[in-house]
Symmetry: C2
Subunit: 352 residues, 2 copies
Amino acid sequence: MRSLQSGEVAELGYDMVLGNTFHLFLNPGHERIAALGGLHEFMAWRRPIITDSGGFQVFSLGHGTVADEIKGRRAQPGRHSRILEISEDGVRFRSYIDGSERFMGPETSMQIQAALGSDIALAFDECTPFHAGRDYTEASMHRTHRWLERCVAWHADNAPPGQVLFGIVQGGVERDLREASAAATVAAGTPGIAIGGSLGADKDQMREVVGWAIEALPDERPRHLLGIGDVDDIVYAVGAGIDSFDCATPTRMARHGTALVPDPRHRWRLDVRSPKNADSAEPLQSDCACEACTNHTRAYLHYLSRAGELTAVRLLTLHNLTFMKTLMTRLEEGIRSGTYDQVADEVLKAES
Amino acid sequence: MRSLQSGEVAELGYDMVLGNTFHLFLNPGHERIAALGGLHEFMAWRRPIITDSGGFQVFSLGHGTVADEIKGRRAQPGRHSRILEISEDGVRFRSYIDGSERFMGPETSMQIQAALGSDIALAFDECTPFHAGRDYTEASMHRTHRWLERCVAWHADNAPPGQVLFGIVQGGVERDLREASAAATVAAGTPGIAIGGSLGADKDQMREVVGWAIEALPDERPRHLLGIGDVDDIVYAVGAGIDSFDCATPTRMARHGTALVPDPRHRWRLDVRSPKNADSAEPLQSDCACEACTNHTRAYLHYLSRAGELTAVRLLTLHNLTFMKTLMTRLEEGIRSGTYDQVADEVLKAES
């Protein structure tokens, strides 16, 4: 977790982190990490780790805009290497580290995740972008289902003790495809299920698409929603039955000088670098117990962030992760006490 | 302290930090910091602060290579603005922030340091570079002595409660000038004295120059040596009677992937980014109690540092500051127990 040590993430109350299969495959290499005792030992993280399938990043090399659509980033043509071939076997591509030709398929993804020693592995999938169109999305989805079978078979024979496999529901923004993909993933029998791929052009469509997938999933299996992290989306998705999330937004926002605050009218965002914070003696958030809020003013964070100081990144990261953890705890308590709708309403209408 | 919060620096055992008068003058401005409760409050540092005079940086704008000589940096022509005029009053220069014309003289420096509310203020001085030559160095030194008188006068009338003023010994690498400057600084009556300016072309000359200055100083006044931080230099200088130091080297090294280790043959430096650390399961230093050494391998730090991860900067900063604090504690114990020479010998001959 950028700018933090693993122990600090645990202290913030997080139960699981996500390790990136694609990046760790290329650098420093899964075999090196395995030789050093696995990813838990390597990063000194003593709690569960989920590793993604590598599919999202590897296909982003070719599709280019998957990452943009889902993560809200600008495309960076030329920065990443290119896909050389997508076939039934998997994907051949050029490494962004050294330009060498590499390959990743279902078995490769499983091998890497086994070497990393994660607790939850994700089945290798193609993450189709919004603009892919129905025909490509459907054909890709069927291939992802065949890859899921191969992942299940490899995992049954070779998985490290204790590691479980989650299948990933694809199918783009088509209701019948999402339902078919959910059914196929359920049928593959993985003990948990993730929802991935393009979730649409806007928040309304995302909620509709996630809803179709969830309806087709059995209650007893945990559901992970890949790459979603906005406050309102999380409140919706938890209410709809999602159990876990991974998203780079809170930490990336911190690196760019943005704090998460209880202010729905500004999409829960406070631009610390705005000139209006230059003299502010207020904390980021008056009822927050994080180090940034208990020790410092907005003026200090404004100064540090604009000066490019690493301490600003760190303080904002600690704050944003505290904000997200507090949010998740509130939602969890809402579920337990049967007051979820009320809690959701409070979160969505809170004033800064 | 880059990549750390103030509380963490205190936890590492540091008793005092240095605040940079010149930089804080330009950004965010001493008046803004004063309005926010002073520098202690602004950065949430609850222990003493020493502020430098501003002279080192302001004269670096013109001399260019003072910083290079003393700090071991490469010159960055064009990055800094230029000095417009040096006069008996002080220095007119262009701000590197916005190009505006600014002025700093003895009273300005004192005003800024008063507004910051530091515990130890340093008198405004010209920090002459090695290449300045005897004539310039001598004339500058006399002006620095006159500025010291003005600082003492301003401070006597206007200093915030509890703030003390230290004069700074200049005089370059000339024995008679150093002795004259030490005598003039002692005569000015400040309760503590700093040694600044060019300390020569190499370590031998630095020790000789520092030795001349120290001999002329009374035992009962604390002595601060500005900008020196190499392990062997500190061991020498503490032995010679220096009480405190400030130096950016340990934290700057951390940002560039270098760890301090007990290895005199390699100048106490370990290049974490070297390929030989890529697979190393060893800690940076086996007997170090810092977070980097107790939780992680050199291989992990190698990977993080080469990947440009902020966590690498942080872990190496924590390690290097732990190393320096441990060193200072050992030297202090050596003084207390009358075994300083033996301790110094152990430090200077330690094997990694």
